[in-house]
Amino acid sequence: MNKKILIVDDEKNIRMTLRHCLKEQNYDIDIAINGDEALNKIQNQKFDLVLLDIKMPGLTGMQVLEKLRNRGNDVNIIMMTAYGTIEKAVEAMKLGAIDFISKPFTPDEIRNIVKDVLSRQELKEEKLENFKDIIEFAKKCILEKRYDRAEEFLKKAVSMDVDSPEPHNLLGVLSEFKKDVSNAQKHYRAALALDPTYEPANKNLERTAQFRYTQAGIKLDVKDNEGDEGSEKDKSK
């Protein structure tokens, strides 16, 4: 049976690009041009995966994500971020979305991430064959809110591939869940020490640096930070 994918993006060219890239893979593709339409469609049909743009007029991607999870809908979601934005990685992860892809993306990138997310469902603990499987399984645990298990598998991943920044980055995120920001930063720095160009860790480190700044009680006028998602996050706290 073909997997059903919903593309949610207000920009027509993005929707078209995604359709193109995913065409040959035997997916059933549907589209929504904004958050409201997306929520409606997801309410009425079962999708295997949603590609969700973060920056949209009206309901933002994060708001759609939140509403879905509040309704008890645990459909797989890949968040699409525009270049130049600081991902709300931790917030999204708490809401149950762990996969991000930044625009622009190559056809390969989108095909691979879609494949990985869809096949993650099938992963079984006894049958984890390689580093990648372990990482994916750890992600699955995070989505299921089994954070201690996730941590276990991430540590295993570290020992399996000492050069990969990815498990360190995810361990950082888990530390943030536990409100241990300084440990989180250590993990992000470890990731960057292994690969200074690893964007997710870079962004997370940047973001936590901001977070601490506001935590110290220094007032950041929200109006000063147009589009600055760090301070918006502070508002929601």
Binding site: K12, N13, I14, M16, T17, R19, H20, C21, Y83, G84, K103, P104, F105, T106, P107, D108, E109, D163, L194, D195
Partner: protein
């Protein structure tokens, strides 16, 4: 280990001879026209231009990405994921900007196919020295005119 993986990636790209992910620098008349054509041909296209309004030149059916930024800055090229590009075409109004970005694409990021637009034929030599493929509209147009006027039999 990471370094070896990156080198392998470059080798793989060349042998596959792909042209799926194309970055076009400059959305002027040439850049936008090319972007439209490539997008119609189902390629994944990213267009970079300093001015947002340049993207108005893209057609309705354009299905690619646009980035409003200065391509001279390395950050812009990284955001466009130049390291994953199969093709980079530089079509800004400035030959020297085109040469510089073309070199960054080719020598630093190992993009397999790099083509630069050249206005001034006198600069062709330096591009050849740097092994960058060029397209000179001036020369091409002159050739076309010549063919119309005296036909193709005459040697260039």
């Amino acid at each position: 280990m990471l370094k070896i993986m990156r080198e392998m990636k470059v080798v793989r790209k060349i042998s596959q001879n792909r042209d799926d992910y194309i970055i076009i620098v400059g959305c002027g008349r040439l850049g936008s026209h090319l972007a439209n054509l490539l997008s119609k041909a189902r390629k994944s296209v990213v267009v970079i231009d300093k001015e947002e309004k340049a993207f108005n030149r893209l057609s309705e059916e354009f299905s690619g990405f646009t980035i409003e930024a200065d391509a001279i800055e390395i950050d812009t090229l990284l955001k466009a994921k130049i390291d994953k590009a199969d093709v980079v075409v530089t079509t800004t109004n400035d030959d020297n900007t085109n040469i510089m970005i073309a070199q960054i694409a080719k020598s630093i990021y190992g993009v397999p196919k790099v083509i630069a637009r050249l206005f001034e034929p006198a600069r062709q030599k330096i591009y050849e020295e740097l092994e960058i493929e060029t397209l000179c509209p001036t020369v091409l147009s002159a050739l076309e005119f010549k063919n119309i006027i005296v036909g193709k039999e005459m040697e260039d």
